[in-house]
């Protein structure tokens, strides 16, 4: 027992030191987080956060509103999805919850909520409350409603608005407007100007397969594809092209970088090139290219090449050349020299030695690097696209900046995630196929 004490002392000391480190690391992390709490003003965040925005956003992701608007000067009634011209219903084809008879328009908001526009003004019947009656009189709006007015009715001389669980209603001197909310993405397949609008799945299938042509010039299926592709609300064709551009940027950038950096990596590898100054200079070039961040390359290149996918591809090409140059040359330095010697003994020249002695050894490393970058570049191509103005990144930032087309944002986000996951599986599949030879 006594003999073990001197041996235990350093061990105990090391245990003691480790215990101190184990305590110190969480303490330092905690202190840093406290510092960040104040530096980022997390406490003030609650005041700045716009939770109503979050509500709008989440509501808009999954639902939409239809505007029923009457111009009080002309008496014309329009029904339009999100109030947009491209979502306007043709007069003869209004949704079944809107009825127009002469001067009178009835809007059924569901559950007994009924809005009527007529020559005298407008009425809104709210179940459990009563009738809100509005008549313009002498340039002012006269409101008749059960008193006292609840806080969801906002009334002034010029504008009266009502917000209920079933919709919103607003009367001004120039127009009266009702918003009806409904879940779903409206007009996703066809806009009202298409002949296929408002048909059920069964009707569409029947039209596509055996019913007579709506347009004699082409089969109904082609017509559907065309109307879907050129849908003015969702612009599926443009979105498809944007996704394609994004993938193209990632593909061209990654592969271009691999092609450019492979010969450079040979020149930068110690066992391939005996000229030390060349090696040193190339390594510094790689470091420099990587150090000048992708952001800066993107800015510089977009000045020269203008907005578009080519610029994005070149920005990724330049940045990745630095990373590839470094990893490729390291892979080349780690090869087994025996195989090269074997090839050399047959009298092969430098190029032949590289092709048959070196390349087979490094291909798995190179390919897995390239595929990994292809995958991660697909993701960053969205950001690069937002900076250079191309691809889905541009559409996304535009849709977010308008701050109202959140359903478009949701659509793009879903497409981006699908795109990234698809590239993920593609690169995984290629890796298994090419490297493991399965």
């Amino acid at each position: 027992m006594t003999a073990s004490v001197p041996m235990a002392t350093p061990l105990l000391a090391s245990f003691h030191r480790r215990r101190l480190i184990a305590l110190a690391v969480p303490a330092v992390i905690l202190a840093y987080l406290v510092y960040i709490f104040f530096a980022f003003d997390i406490a003030g965040l609650a005041g700045r956060a716009r939770l109503d925005n979050a509500k709008i956003l989440l509501g808009d992701f999954v639902s939409y509103k239809t505007h029923v608007t009457r111009n009080n000067a002309t008496g014309a009634v329009t029904v339009a999805v999100e109030g947009e011209a491209k979502g306007t219903f043709a007069p003869g084809h209004l949704p079944d919850w809107v009825k127009v008879q002469g001067d009178t328009t009835t809007v059924d908001l569901g559950a007994g909520h009924l809005v009527t526009y007529d020559a005298a003004g407008a009425r809104y019947v709210v179940p459990g409350y009563g009738t809100i009656d509005i008549r313009p009189q002498g340039g002012k709006l006269a409101l008749t409603a059960p008193q006292p007015l609840p806080d969801w009715i906002n009334a002034s001389d010029n504008r009266i608005s009502v917000t209920t669980s079933h919709g919103r209603f607003a009367y001004t001197r120039s127009k009266v407007e009702t918003f009806r909310y409904a879940p779903g993405w409206p007009l996703f397949f066809f806009t009202p100007d298409s002949a296929f609008f408002g048909k059920s799945w069964g009707e569409l299938a029947a039209l596509a397969l055996w019913q007579p042509r709506i347009d004699a010039a082409q089969p109904n299926l082609f017509g559907m594809a065309h109307d879907f592709w050129t849908n003015k609300m969702w612009r599926h064709g443009d979105v498809f092209w944007a996704i394609g551009e994004t993938i193209l940027m990632a593909f061209l950038g990654t592969m271009g970088a691999a092609i450019v950096s492979l010969p450079l990596a040979f020149l930068a590898a110690r066992n391939m090139n005996r000229l030390a100054p060349v090696r040193f200079a190339l390594r510094r070039v790689f470091d420099f290219v990587r150090g000048v961040d992708a952001l800066i390359w993107t800015i510089i290149l977009s000045r020269a090449f203008g907005p578009g996918p080519m610029t994005g591809a070149l920005a990724m090409l330049v940045t990745d050349t630095g990373s590839f140059g470094k990893t490729f040359s390291e892979a080349l330095e780690n090869i087994d020299e025996k195989q090269v010697d074997g090839i050399r003994s047959t009298g092969a020249n430098t190029l032949q030695r590289a092709r048959w002695g070196v390349i087979p050894q490094v291909v798995p490393v190179l390919l897995s690097q390239v595929l990994y970058f292809l995958e991660s570049n697909t993701r960053s191509a969205t950001v690069v696209g937002a900076i250079v103005g191309g691809g889905i990144g541009l559409l996304l930032t535009q849709a977010i900046q308008t701050q109202k087309d959140w359903e478009d944002v949701a659509y793009y986000v879903i497409l981006i995630i699908l795109m990234v996951m698809a590239m993920d599986s593609l690169s995984g599949w290629l890796r298994r196929k090419l490297i493991k030879g399965e």
Binding site: F40, L252, R303, G306, G308, P309, V383
Partner: protein
Amino acid sequence: MVDVSFGPEPSQRPAPPAGPYLAMQRRKRVYGLAMLVLFVALMASGFQVAEDRNAGGFLNGLTQLDDFPREVLSEAWAKRAAIPGWMGHYLPSLLETINIAAVSTLLGVLAASLLSLLATRGLSLWPRLTPLFRRMLDAFRAVPEIVVALVLIYILGPGPVPAMIAIALHTAGAMGKLFSEVAENADLKPVEGLTSTGASWGQKMWLGILPQVAPNWLSYTLLRFEINVRASAILGFVGSGGIGYELKVAMQWGGGKYDQVVAIFLLLFLTIMLIDQCSDRFRHRLVKGV
């Protein structure tokens, strides 16, 4: 003396490869050639499409490549005396960018450690739920940072927090996958030993797994920090906060503020180089264990 390089007598040589082997070789060569042709065709047509859809042409752009840098540098050179001052001026926003990267790496890695252990077969607290945690990591990884950042800016207002949350989420997903791959290869004997003493799941992970995976995890974390510094600069440019935003403001001004642009470029470049070199050296030490 026999000339060994020519091998044994013809009659004693092994039969030359024939039949299935040669057929396989030929098939491989045909596949390789087809792949190459496909690849070249893809590259060429892709280049053509990109060229058509770009505002400026490729060759045209090449001739203008140095216009912008030259314009910036010549103006900055004329005002070179002001650059150190501007660098000092932008130091706080650089610090903010680095802080965003650091705190999001920290939070992301903490989340990733937990999620990765829960997503590793054989280590998970709830083995049945491993696929769920795997899909969760995949989902975190698939959402690009810019999407989360821009949406959060709308809700939380401009500032460092949206970028921080966006990068942290992505880091959790990306690191979780790598961490789980490392943890899969960990030796389970310490865990078995701890199980025999009646240790809880947390104790088993903390004392049995963490010491084994720490060097690799730390090395990945450092690499991620480097990536996150770049990402936080880019997010600043697209969204808000940090040195990226300052760069955008200075760039939008056009001529006249190029000394500030150069000052920001220099700050970014030096920071990234420094972090790159430090983490490279430190990771070398971690992995080689010197």
